[in-house]
């Protein structure tokens, strides 16, 4: 993958292993990737090949044994955990396979939670949250708690939440993995469209070749490296 001036997220030489018994199991060995601003990248790979680990490393939720990750050109390794968390709140949005909505909050409050964490909850943020929910087709469900939403609706709320703080990059970890084909297709469409509208780059981990085919770039993860596909 070639470096470019508009690179928004990059990783080079990532090594990652986990303890197992007396030794360690290597998950990533020298993996690198580059995400350009405003583009979408899908990552496929076999189960257990380290896709989620790669996404967590890119998000700064885990730290590699070796290698470097840069957010908008700045290495995140030297940042303290507090500073990293503060920057993550506005640089990244994340969507997970299991939605991870907070059950005590309504759909609108779940979306607003991202703004609360950066300390900005005013009329403008409320308006944006409502607009995002409307954009993902949930204007009528804004005041419903997650328990009263379907799986597809919950994932749409998660998409709106990921975009609430106008992130530069959205990382989606198998966003359609828990949804049926039709619903998954709808969520993927919303995810791609809204990210494009909000000018956020999208990195999506998926098993679904059709969904992967809809992104600008496609890559396949093996232990050694991330290979771009035609």
């Amino acid at each position: 993958m070639s470096e470019a001036n508009d690179t928004i997220l990059s990783a080079t030489g990532l090594h990652m292993s986990y303890p197992s018994g007396d030794g360690r199991i290597a998950v990533l060995e020298g993996v690198g990737c580059t995400v350009r601003a405003g583009t979408s990248l899908s990552i496929r790979g076999e189960s257990g090949c380290g896709k989620t680990t790669l996404l967590n490393l890119l998000a700064g939720l885990e730290f590699p044994d070796a290698g470097e990750i840069r957010w908008a050109g700045e290495p995140i390794g030297p940042l303290g955990r507090g500073e990293l968390a503060r920057r993550r709140a506005t640089f990244l949005g994340m969507v997970f396979q299991s939605f991870y909505l907070i059950p005590e909050l309504t759909a609108l409050d779940n979306v607003l939670m991202a703004a609360r964490i950066v300390g900005k909850v005013g009329p403008a943020e409320r308006k944006r949250a409502a607009e995002l929910l409307a954009r993902v087709g949930l204007a009528e469900r804004a005041h419903h708690v997650p328990a009263h939403l379907s799986g597809g609706e919950r994932q749409r709320v998660a998409v709106a939440r990921a975009l609430m703080n106008r992130p530069r990059v959205v990382l989606a970890d198998e966003p359609t993995g828990n949804l049926d084909e039709a619903t998954g297709e709808g969520v993927m469409t919303v995810l791609l469209e809204v990210c494009a509208e909000q000018q956020a780059s999208l990195v999506v981990v998926t098993h679904n070749a059709l969904h992967a085919g809809r992104t600008n770039e496609r890559a396949f993860l093996s232990r050694q490296h991330l290979r771009l596909q035609d």
Binding site: T52, A89, G119
Partner: protein, 409 residues
């Protein structure tokens, strides 16, 4: 509102749902502990205040004594009356006698009071249950009610008194003749010891019985409301002759007051353990919450929340349980204190123990008084305990690694 506080409130009181069971149990535990503390300390405080009032009523705010008979009582009284804040002064003499009624002996304390001044300091009339202070003269005495009952005497009965002075005469081979007195009245103060063994006579009688001449054992002073007894005692001590001292009622009852305070403190610490147990309940509930919400904690990290914020969220929950639980407990406690007499009367009717209550505890109504400092101590202790209970869950939550939290099942 910061996100940890917002989320803490939402977790305790979720949108569109009833109060979660764990919140209810935690609040109830703290509230129960606070309520028991308030009721117990109020009743203890009430009894303590009643006892203090009784002591002050019977001995005055300040006593001037010398450890031996004082012959210049009138001068001391005049000196005391000149002190700003002193509103009354009365001399007294006291001792022990042997009392005989028929064949029944008793060894009560005896106090001689100056009938012209005693009401300035001691509200003697208010304690008289039968007879009258006006009937008291140099040939009569007033007995405490329990003592009279034990001797089987009443108003108008005659009793005989023997004094240590008579024993002295007996050593000189003089004939031992007791003094005979008429019972002019019966009094009841509400203090077991005083009500079972005290005889009141005129000061002249006491001086005669003890051979004091015109001397007295002490002068009791009554102060204006709100005047500090210590300040008056200090001021008097600077002017009193050598060997004569002014002591406050706190000085003369220091050991008794210490015991009262010790009992109250012990009860406070023992009952505080109810709140401590409630604190364990809060801690276990919040720990369960941390385990149950592990993935949400991971999500918060993914959204940009830091470990400090996650910890604060759980600390706020403990703090909020402490504040609300304490408020509910305080409300319940004061309600229980307000209806205490109805509760006791219903209980005594149910168990038919009203007579026993009156006989042994000498009350039909439970006194109650809660000092502001006691209330503050209860409130602060309960909130701090609840807050501390949240520290371990908060620490556990903050230590979770975001990626592991998100992967947890």
């Amino acid at each position: 509102m910061s996100w940890p506080l917002y989320l803490a409130l939402k977790q305790l009181f979720p949108t569109g749902r009833r109060v979660p069971f764990f919140t209810f149990i935690s609040l109830a535990g703290v509230a129960l502990g606070v309520m028991v503390l308030i009721v117990t300390l109020s009743v203890m405080g009430g009894f303590g205040q009643q006892i203090r009032r009784m002591i002050v009523d019977t001995v005055g705010d300040v006593q001037i004594t010398a450890g031996q008979p004082m012959s210049d009582a009138a001068q001391l009284m005049a000196e005391a009356r000149r002190t700003p804040g002193v509103v009354g002064a009365t001399p007294h003499a006291e001792g022990v006698v042997m009392l005989l009624s028929g064949n029944k002996p008793a060894f009560p304390a005896i106090q001689g009071v100056d009938l012209t001044h005693v009401e300035e300091v001691v509200p003697l009339n208010s304690y008289i249950r039968l007879g009258s202070v006006e009937d008291l003269d140099d040939d009569s005495v007033i007995l405490s009610r329990t003592l009279a009952q034990s001797l089987g005497v009443g108003v108008g009965s005659r009793i005989e008194l023997y004094t240590p002075l008579m024993l002295e005469k007996m050593r000189h081979d003089e004939v031992l003749l007791p003094r005979e007195f008429r019972v002019a009245g019966l009094f009841e103060i509400g203090h077991t010891q005083l009500d079972s063994s005290l005889v009141i006579c005129t000061l002249r009688t006491m001086q005669d019985l003890y051979g004091l001449g015109s001397a007295v054992h002490g002068v009791s002073l009554r102060l204006a409301p709100g005047v500090d007894p210590d300040a008056i005692a200090d001021r008097l001590n600077q002017r009193l002759p050598q060997g004569v001292r002014a002591l406050t009622w706190m000085d003369t009852n220091r050991d008794f007051l210490f015991i009262l305070q010790l009992e109250k403190n012990m009860l406070f610490f023992l009952l505080l353990f109810i709140v401590v147990v409630a604190g364990f309940s809060v801690a276990s509930s919040l720990l369960i919450s941390v385990v149950r919400k592990t993935r949400e904690i991971g999500l918060l990290a993914a959204l940009g929340g830091d470990a400090r914020g996650v910890a604060a969220c759980y600390c706020y929950q403990g703090l909020f349980i402490g504040i609300v639980g304490t408020a509910l407990g305080t409300l319940a406690g004061f309600t229980a204190v307000y209806f205490r007499n109805d509760v006791v009367q219903a209980f005594s009717r149910l168990t038919q123990s009203r007579a026993a209550l009156e006989r042994f505890y000498m009350f039909t109504e439970i006194p109650a008084h809660l000092a502001a400092t006691d209330l503050l101590l209860i409130v602060v202790s309960s909130i701090v305990i609840a807050l501390f209970a949240a520290v371990l869950p908060a620490w556990r939550a903050a230590r979770l690694k975001p990626s592991e939290a998100l992967r947890s099942e």
